[in-house]
Symmetry: C2
């Protein structure tokens, strides 16, 4: 039912950290450990946010060994979820926090994934 879908999508979008996740995925898929690093949240919390976005149909996931990658949903191009993603991204341009996230994401992506996870284990923030 469309009413339920609209509400479910809006609920998924009604959290700042989840919006930041969507923004971080707009230029390509990211590994969970990279999202954890960007948000500086506990792995369990980050995983829950990703699960909520996936449940709402806003992101899709791909498993690669021990690593899990998430990306923005692409399907027909005209689904409610995809329209919502476009609305979100379009309204985020030039937001200072998103710009800062973009910069930090560059740093995160410049680190080897294994090295990033290693640093996270040892409780050090890498960037």
């Amino acid at each position: 039912m469309a009413l339920d879908e609209v509400v479910a999508l809006a609920k998924a979008l009604s959290d700042e950290n989840r919006i930041r996740i969507l923004a971080s995925l707009r230029n390509g898929e990211r590994c969970v450990c990279q999202v954890i690093e960007l948000l500086a949240l506990a792995p369990s919390t980050t995983s829950k946010h990703l699960a909520i976005l996936k449940q709402a149909g806003l992101v899709q996931s791909r498993k690669e060994g021990r690593w899990m990658h998430y990306r923005l949903t692409t399907s027909s191009g005209t689904s409610p979820a995809e329209e919502a993603i476009r609305w979100v991204i379009a309204n985020l341009e030039n937001d200072p926090r998103i710009v800062a996230d973009d910069r930090q994401l560059d740093s995160i992506l410049s680190v080897e994934r294994a090295e990033l996870c290693c640093r996270q284990r040892e409780g050090r923030r890498c960037c």
Copy 2:
């Protein structure tokens, strides 16, 4: 800031009753008493929902004596709120609850506003 605005709009849209309110306004402004009747919620609850929608910029209000009218926001036509309204309405087409609401709203609009408020005072649902 755009991030805050996106989250605020999504929060305002993340409740079924508030979506039903937006749908009920899509063909013109409505009086609070008419919205109360449609949702079958307490006046205080309905008023709070309308205040949340107004705070988010999704609806505007107009006072006419003791009566207050709400309508969907119209401004530039390309504001985040207006884009959100279009997204919501477009995805609600043919939803059975919205169709039922539309029918009930016809009934409500066929009753004199004073008569509607009178019935509400006496605790009777009119439709």
